[in-house]
């Protein structure tokens, strides 16, 4: 089915309050980047599914436009081909689900169109915000282009839970939110991160995308105890895991997706994999510009190691029929 271009409102039955788990066991995934296309075409046997950030496949002309989302024809065609042989999972960065000043229902409707197109078994976004009002009302909106932390308070929980419910009504697939990475903390929060994520899962039915590199980054920069965080988390809610590599800058360790997974993150993965009964997949994230410095062989080694761990701790991946 070709990707529809124009946005439309979706009228679907209300989703049940409980999370729609379990999902299929897809296995090991790789994040799509245009620079990775040669690898994706040459080494299709190295990964089981493809994850894609929709915002790099379409151009968003802005809220309220009659045709807001204009697909990139090349990337769309590539995904179309990929979707015939493997599952393609959207991992969005554009919803800004925690933005208090507005909720982007056009984005939600667009994800519903993507579901019509790709029939993905789940989709995800980030527990964060990047859109905010400009301090001068008539100056419109700021797009920080980076996920900023939400205050982990009851007010935020209620705001996000209500929006998750809307997403779940509009898009007939489980919706996951990813634990955020941040380089600073907000004072006097009512919840710790694990309790907040558990409550959000309980109240909204969203699944969790547990980004282990984010946990490691927060451990390095904020001094959190990553192991204790994971131990407190309801791992039955975890549907997807992310791993990645990073880099140092100004005394901070960055979630740069700039190379191989570090050993502490591999250890986290080995620890968590057998403890997530509803896990659908684990994805390696690499920014396209780092593919060349990293190299084809190193990327294959990451995926091989992920597959070894998956095979040890999870059932064999289901295959999509071509």
């Amino acid at each position: 089915m070709p990707l529809p271009e124009a946005g439309r409102l979706v009228d679907t039955p209300a989703a049940p309050q409980e999370a729609a788990l379990p999902v299929p066991k897809l296995g090991v995934g790789l994040g799509y980047q245009a620079q990775l296309r040669p690898f994706l075409e040459k080494h299709g046997d190295e990964f089981d599914f493809l994850e894609v950030v929709p915002e790099v496949v379409w151009n968003d002309l802005g809220p309220g436009r009659r045709t807001r989302y204009v697909p990139d024809p090349e990337a769309t065609s590539f995904l179309e081909q990929q979707s015939r042989v493997r599952t393609v999972i959207p991992h969005s960065i554009g919803l800004s689900i925690g933005s208090a000043h507005r909720f982007d229902r056009e984005h939600v409707a667009q994800m519903a169109l993507w579901h019509d197109w790709l029939r993905f078994p789940w989709h995800s976004d980030h527990l964060a915000f990047h859109l905010a009002e400009h301090q001068d009302e008539d100056e419109g909106e700021i797009n920080v282009n980076l996920t900023l932390p939400l205050p982990l308070d009851q007010e935020t929980l209620e705001l996000v839970a209500a929006r998750v419910a809307e997403v779940r009504r509009a898009v007939p697939a489980p919706f996951l939110l990813e634990n955020n990475v941040s380089y600073f903390r907000l004072a006097d929060e009512e919840y710790d991160e694990a309790r907040f994520l558990n409550a959000l899962h309980r109240d909204s039915g969203c699944g969790l995308l547990l980004d282990l590199h984010n946990v490691y980054v927060n451990e390095r920069n904020l001094g959190i105890d990553g192991g204790a965080f994971i131990d407190r988390l309801d791992l039955e809610a975890v549907v997807e895991l992310h791993v990645a590599g990073g880099m140092e800058m100004d005394g901070f360790y960055l979630d740069a997706h700039s190379g191989p997974v570090l050993e502490p993150v591999w250890r986290m993965l080995a620890d968590v994999l057998p403890r997530c009964p509803n896990l659908g997949g684990v994805v390696f994230e690499l920014f396209g510009s780092w593919y060349e410095p990293m190299g084809e062989d190193a990327l294959r080694r990451q995926l091989d190691r992920m597959k070894e761990l998956w095979a040890r701790h999870q059932p064999p991946p289901v295959r999509r029929r071509a």
Binding site: R66, A132, T156, G251
Partner: protein, 201 residues
């Protein structure tokens, strides 16, 4: 809504270094109106957090990358010092608005064209790169973009050719005004042709 005001403040801390310094040095009261005391304290604490400065650096790097990638001839023409000065000035007035590189580069190019810098080549080089970006802008239904008209004061083959080869332009070049029109063809190539001078008005 107080949470919206808080998020507006946090976004401003990340994108506006002067305001960040003001909040850091003045205290929670500088964080603005419409906030709870806790939100003011949070903003004040964040303003002094080195992690917020790192966040701001990441945002600036991402923004700058868009400009450097999409306006390479403008960068070559102005040099990094002047470009950095112009970018800082532009950003002091214009926070990030879009995820997309083309939007950021277009907005900066438009700003440069309004600036009337003393460099004798800047208008034509920036106008050229801006026009090329406009031709690449995504359009619903794959509609072709409107033709772009650029007024050159100097021979574009020399000006654009030297910059494309990574060479600096001489201080002066004999003026050879012309007006060209660029059209994107259905096969994705750009066709150039002379245009009437009034077309560039």
């Amino acid at each position: 809504m107080s949470l919206a005001a808080f998020q507006s403040g946090l976004a401003r801390l990340v994108t506006d270094p002067c305001w960040r310094e003001e909040v850091r040095t003045t205290g929670p009261t500088a964080a603005g109106d419409g906030l709870t005391d806790r939100e003011r304290r949070r903003l004040h604490q964040a303003a002094g957090d080195p992690g917020l400065a790192v966040t701001a650096t990441l945002v600036r790097s991402f923004r700058l990358g868009k400009i450097l990638t999409l306006l390479p001839l403008t960068r070559r023409l102005l040099g990094d010092t002047i470009l950095a000065r112009e970018v800082r000035r532009f950003w002091s007035e214009e926070p990030p608005r879009s995820f997309y590189a083309l939007d950021e580069a277009q907005a900066f190019a438009a700003d440069l064209l309004r600036r009337r810098l003393r460099n004798p080549f800047v208008d034509e080089v920036v106008a050229f790169e801006r026009a090329m970006l406009e031709l690449r802008r995504a359009r619903p239904g794959n509609r072709l973009p409107p033709p772009q008209t650029i007024r050159f004061r100097h021979d574009p083959r020399i000006v654009l050719g030297m910059l494309s080869e990574g060479r600096s332009l001489p201080r002066r070049l004999r003026e050879r005004p012309c007006v060209l029109q660029a059209v994107l063809t259905p096969d994705g190539t750009v066709d150039w042709s002379p245009a009437a001078p009034e077309a560039a008005a």
